[in-house]
């Protein structure tokens, strides 16, 4: 009977050791999962806002397609930067093409050190309607 009680104690010690060894990596995996779930949500929202802003830019009159930094875009906790430059021609040209790049960040993120959650670039030409 004494031997059997001792075995249970040894088992308990082994259990604690094994749990300690395995719990750390499993804890890390679970932690990463939680972060990834939050990231995934951010990516999906950012992509939808990106698409929304790209379509909006395409439907603006040509002269109104300008560089803009929009904070808390459409009420969402994301910042959207629209950067516009002349790819071909210039402001005074009869014909020109603007390069439009849209980047979506988390609201308040340090944009110099953090990459955008989503970005896309396109051209829009002057004097073209649908």
């Amino acid at each position: 009977m004494r031997i059997e009680k001792g075995v249970t104690l040894i088992e308990l010690v082994i259990t604690i050791v094994v749990v300690s060894i395995i719990a750390i990596p499993i804890g890390r995996v679970i932690g990463q999962q939680v972060i990834a779930i939050v990231d995934s949500r951010d990516y999906v929202i950012a992509q939808n806002l990106l698409r929304f802003e790209m379509e909006k830019a395409r439907n603006l009159s040509y002269s109104n397609i300008i560089t803009q930094n929009l904070t808390n875009y459409e009420g969402y906790p994301y910042d959207v930067n629209r950067t516009v430059s002349y790819e071909l021609g210039s402001a005074g040209s009869a014909e020109s093409v603007k390069r439009v790049e849209v980047k979506v960040y988390l609201a308040g993120a340090d944009q110099s050190s953090t990459g955008p959650l989503a970005s896309a670039v396109t051209y829009i030409a002057k004097n073209v309607s649908f």
């Binding site: 088992e11 082994i14 499993i26 990463q32 992509q47 014909e95 896309a120 670039v121 030409a125």
Partner: protein, 251 residues
């Protein structure tokens, strides 16, 4: 009883560990897949706007110089667009089309070449009409006042014509399709196939347009290659894009 309790904590522990490990891996796999789907979605969004860039680039060149050409442009980093194939340079003018000879001949449709430097060559034409009566046939195709094919074919048949080259800046006119019956009240469509196997589809009757059709493929190369292609028709008289659709035949 004492014997049966032996090792119970260890076995329980093993079961718990196995359960937690399997659950964690399952969730990890799910989350990983979800992030991968997000990345693919982003590439899909970006490529369609790259394709859009190509369409506007072609229109700009046409408006600026009256012609354009195929090109691949690296917009930034891993983002590209490619535009142009022979069918894209065919400027189809249907503004003076009419039916003559008891409405059995469709004449005065024209095809020009808006490529900056290269000729384009039509090798086949598929003529379709709707509504289609089974006894109706196309019997002759004349281009530039020359007979390019004679025979008897039903609607939708691809016809191998004598190759017809359109030089840079040129336009072929004095063209005619001849049918065996009255074609009034029908919609007549032609698909011109070119020597590079590209095609240009156009409604020839009733129609009143002068248009070319731009195909543009957006591409992202980030280890994998992602592509999406848009095809837009540009009305050169009214400076309007008259159709805009996605196609799965990439450049």
């Amino acid at each position: 009883m004492a014997n049966t309790n032996k090792g119970i904590a260890l076995i329980t522990l093993a079961i718990i560990i196995a359960f937690v490990a399997i659950s964690s891996l399952g969730i990890a796999s799910f989350v990983f897949n979800r992030l991968q789907v997000s990345a693919v979605n982003l590439s899909q969004i970006r490529t369609i706007y790259l394709a859009q860039a190509g369409i506007y680039r072609a229109i700009y060149d046409y408006r600026n110089e009256g012609a354009w050409q195929e090109m691949e442009v690296n917009i930034s980093g891993i983002q590209y667009f490619r535009i142009g194939e022979n069918g894209s340079f065919a400027l189809v003018d249907t503004r003076e089309d009419d039916l003559i000879g008891n409405n059995t001949m469709l004449r005065n449709w024209k095809v020009g070449n808006v490529h900056k430097a290269n000729p384009i060559t039509i090798t086949h034409i598929t003529v379709s009409w709707s509504p289609n009566i089974s006894s109706e046939r196309i019997e002759k195709i004349r281009i530039n006042n020359k007979t390019k094919w004679t025979g008897s074919e039903t609607s939708g048949t691809q016809i191998d014509i004598t190759d017809t080259t359109i030089n840079v800046g040129d336009e072929i006119d004095n063209n005619r399709f001849e049918f065996n019956s009255d074609m009034s009240g029908k919609t007549i469509t032609a698909i011109f196939r070119f020597s590079d196997n590209s095609a240009r589809s156009a409604v020839l009757y009733p129609a009143n347009r002068k248009e070319f059709s731009i195909k543009s493929t957006g591409k992202i190369q980030d280890g994998q290659t992602w592509k999406r292609t848009l095809e837009a028709t540009y009305d050169v008289v009214n400076s309007k894009i008259t159709s805009w659709k996605e196609t799965f035949n990439h450049l």
